[in-house]
Amino acid sequence: MIEARGLTKKYGETVAVDNLSFNVQSGKITGFLGPNGAGKTTTMRLILGLDRPTRGSVTVNGRRLNQLAWPMREVGALIDAKAVHGGRSAYNHLLCLAQTNNLPKRRVHEVLDLVGLHDVARKRTKGFSLGMGQRLGIAAALLGDPQILMFDEPVNGLDPEGILWIRNLMKALAAEGRTVFVSSHLMSEMENTADDLIVIGRGKLIAQSTIAEFIAANSQQSVRVSTPQRAEFAAVVAAAGATVRDDSDDRLVVLGLTPAQVGDLAFEHGVRLHELSPAHASLEQAFMELTASSVEFQAGLPGVAPDQQAVGAGKVN
């Protein structure tokens, strides 16, 4: 269990983390979402005690990290896969970390096997690819067989195979009852893996809920309709109190009515339908709408009004 209470971190005048309070529940995968620059990495650094909070506190299993008896055996973290001495071999890198917590050499071999780096264990890490570096970072996090694992943007820059590997790993870790706290700036990454969500923007908490609650609260159901009588049916639907707009494929998107209601309306008014399909706004879209106002560096899309950008950039399934 990770608990943050009023966590605040300022770097000079810049507020990186602003009065953040949240709980990361044990035995679940908690996605930590926010746009780039939202303060995710800073929050993780505060949890690990790398940075000292300006105000507030954060505890792991009820204690600050430096008060844990065997830190590596309770928390494993991958913040930055490049944070290794490139002149040291993978084996020695893991060994020097293991020794701080009196972990046996056997364990170093185990984690090297686990992440598939055994063949290059004696190679210096400066020659490692991004994927190998990421695996080494994960090996270091798993060294102490900890109950709590933290990964900061673990799939960044990985190829599809590497992404799949990390996803499966996180699921396997959670299946063993471990707590996984993983940050990402991509909602789609969390959609399939996380149980809980913590969303921040500009250092502030925007939402904390389970993934199901988040979907229910943030995604509007819509109905996609394809008909040869578009203009006519649009008027019918609008008259029934729903919002209607054209999507890019010349279909109508109806908001505020269920598929059954739309079908009944069409029947009553004798409108022929070629397609009637329910659509959920994707989590990506919900996330973008939620954080649109808190993106640190907002880029304008050419030809799109700012209030439509979030919708335009997300895809409707």
Partner: protein, 302 residues
């Protein structure tokens, strides 16, 4: 990239039981020894220090024997006829300085020790390893102490080995003209051991500077400036008017003059501290740097 971790493979069970006690100094020190001996720069730097110290000492010893050899043929090194008594004077002079003559390479060797001391801590920052390391051992005081002790131990052992090898090789060369000395002679053992101590403290001073500056180039420059440049400059700066505040009482506080009297007596400035007192002053400088480094290390974000 083929292997996919499965549930079964993750349960190593290797470390499921948490031992008693807590992660502390001993484990962290072992970790620091692993760090020191698992990068090539350590070996290169230590070999460079050994070669420079032993090699320069041997060259200086050889140079001294050449001069004596010339005088034995009745000419000075420049080829002029030697004045009467020159040989005996020269022999007595060399014999009295035989130990520090063979250690002359330490003058340059200290600079290499500065590099090693700085790199021990600044490389953690330049590579980012510090963040990984402090996640594994978040008790910063323990981490810093373990690092300083492990490095200090390596620096002391290699310093002593270097000093003794330089001494014995130098004496072997000097003995060809009968001007060598032995460890049993007055102050010689102190000189040779002092050479090793001096190198170790140079390293620790630089370690402290590295912890304060966290930047390799900056802390190496600072260390070299402090140890090497300041004492050279002091030889060229004009003396203050006598009786003013007195260069005599200023010089001896220069780190190199204070610290190096323990292994040589030529470059000690005017009115120096005695060897052990001077070395104590030098240690105090190193302690100040180490404490400064510790205070900043405890306070700053990593």
């Amino acid at each position: 990239m083929a292997s996919v971790a499965t549930h079964e493979r993750l349960i190593g069970g290797a470390v499921a039981e948490h031992p008693r006690g807590r992660a502390g100094f001993i484990g962290t020190m072992r970790s620091e020894f692993t760090k020191i001996w698992s990068v090539r720069s350590t070996y290169w730097t230590l070999i460079a220090m050994l070669v420079v110290c032993v090699g320069l000492g041997a060259l200086f010893s050889w140079g001294a024997t050449e001069r004596i050899l010339a005088l034995k043929h009745g000419v000075t090194f420049g080829g002029h006829p030697a004045p009467p008594g020159a040989l005996a004077n020269r022999e007595a002079l060399i014999k009295s300085q035989a130990a520090s003559l063979s250690l002359f390479g330490l003058l340059i060797g200290q600079l290499i020790m500065v590099v090693l001391g700085s790199l021990t801590i600044t490389s953690e920052y330049s590579t980012g390893m510090i963040r990984t390391a402090l996640t594994a051992m978040p008790r910063r005081g323990t981490f810093y102490a373990a690092k300083a002790v492990a490095f200090g131990f390596v620096a002391l052992v290699t310093g002593l080995v270097t000093s003794f090898i330089a001494f014995f090789l130098g004496q072997t060369i000097l003995s060809t003209q009968g001007v060598s000395t032995t460890l049993g002679a007055h102050d010689v053992l102190r000189t040779v051991i002092g050479g090793g101590l001096f190198l170790a403290v140079c390293g620790l001073l630089s370690f402290g500077i590295g912890a304060m500056l966290r930047h390799t180039a900056g802390s190496i420059s600072t260390g070299i400036g402090l140890l090497f440049v300041v004492f050279i400059l002091s030889n060229f700066l004009p003396s203050p008017p006598s009786g003013w505040f007195g260069q005599a009482d200023f010089d001896k506080w220069i780190p190199f003059f204070a610290g190096a009297h323990i292994w040589q007596s030529q470059l000690v400035g005017v009115n120096p501290f005695s060897p052990w007192v001077g070395f104590g002053v030098f240690c105090a400088y190193a302690a100040a740097a180490l404490i400064g480094g510790l205070v900043l290390f405890l306070r700053r974000d990593a």
